[in-house]
Symmetry: C2
Subunit: 174 residues, 2 copies
Amino acid sequence: MTKATWKKFDEVELTHSSVHHLMAMHELLKRNGYVRGVDISKHLKISRSSVSITIHKLIKKGYIQEDENKFYHFTPKGQELINNVLSKRRIIRLFFEKVLDIPEDMAEYEACKVEHLLEEETGQRIMNFIGFFLSERKEANEFRYALKRFIYECGSVDACEICEIECYFAGKEQ
Amino acid sequence: MTKATWKKFDEVELTHSSVHHLMAMHELLKRNGYVRGVDISKHLKISRSSVSITIHKLIKKGYIQEDENKFYHFTPKGQELINNVLSKRRIIRLFFEKVLDIPEDMAEYEACKVEHLLEEETGQRIMNFIGFFLSERKEANEFRYALKRFIYECGSVDACEICEIECYFAGKEQ
DNA sequence: TGTATTTGTTAGACATGCTTAACAGATGTT
DNA sequence: AACATCTGTTAAGCATGTCTAACAAATACA
């Protein structure tokens, strides 16, 4: 771990909580055409007071605007962020489901923890990868077919990098 | 988002910070053969006091033991956790580097944010995937070769799921 | 009109994890 | 032996995000 890479974890511009406030707003706007504090509060199952505080922070940071009736709207900045998170969420879920073959609810859970933490660049690359993986190209078709029948076992592959990992999983090393 | 999936984010048994205290311990043990509080403090670039507090929590939780000279050691529970995180870290980094072709330092950064959040099951599945992806199987070879030459463009693939995503990236939808 | 409900805000509380400052005890140096 | 340094702990402070309780203002209903 170089320098203090690990610390950057909470130097992210928006916290997990804030991102989910924005995501809730987006879902409710789509569903109802409007959002108020209490809607977010019910959606996220947290208190109105907590929502109130977070929303005002997001207004200060320029992600949200409040109209005269206390209905909330995204600023362009907020909308852009939502688009980014949504696209990453989708692509990550798709990856978990289609590539790793993880059940839907589990894929959602795993994606939720991770979606807002990954960079745009990473999202783009996963998209590129999945674009190819799910395509009808001959190489992709054959790869998917063979992958489905593949079960990894230590020794079945000559890449020793992987083998080291298997040893970790089996708890044989260190 | 079902129920309050998003809240589980911080219901994880150990926080990002705690995991990194344990990881630091592991690295220092491997390097020096011992660990004291001050070593962790320097390694993570945080104050001794903060380390002291976190370490005592980890002792209470049963991940660490302290000997008569204030040198720290893993309990079996702690060692197991370290093995799990290490294996996931490796496999995730490998995925970012070898599959997504992300530069090494970026891959490390991305992996760091994510490694302790994913379930064992997910780690296992990524391992299985990479086991096949990096193998010398004909399908894997051809897939890798073709993937390297592939650049995703909206319309180049008929999977409309992906296309929707591309629209998000381009900010054309919603 | 008067009362009840809904909604948003504020205050006080608690838990996290970090900081600095002060201090205690051990170790090192001269 | 005396002073300096290193190490660990504790206390007080700040920021996060959550909670409950209290209150204010608007809305709904009788």
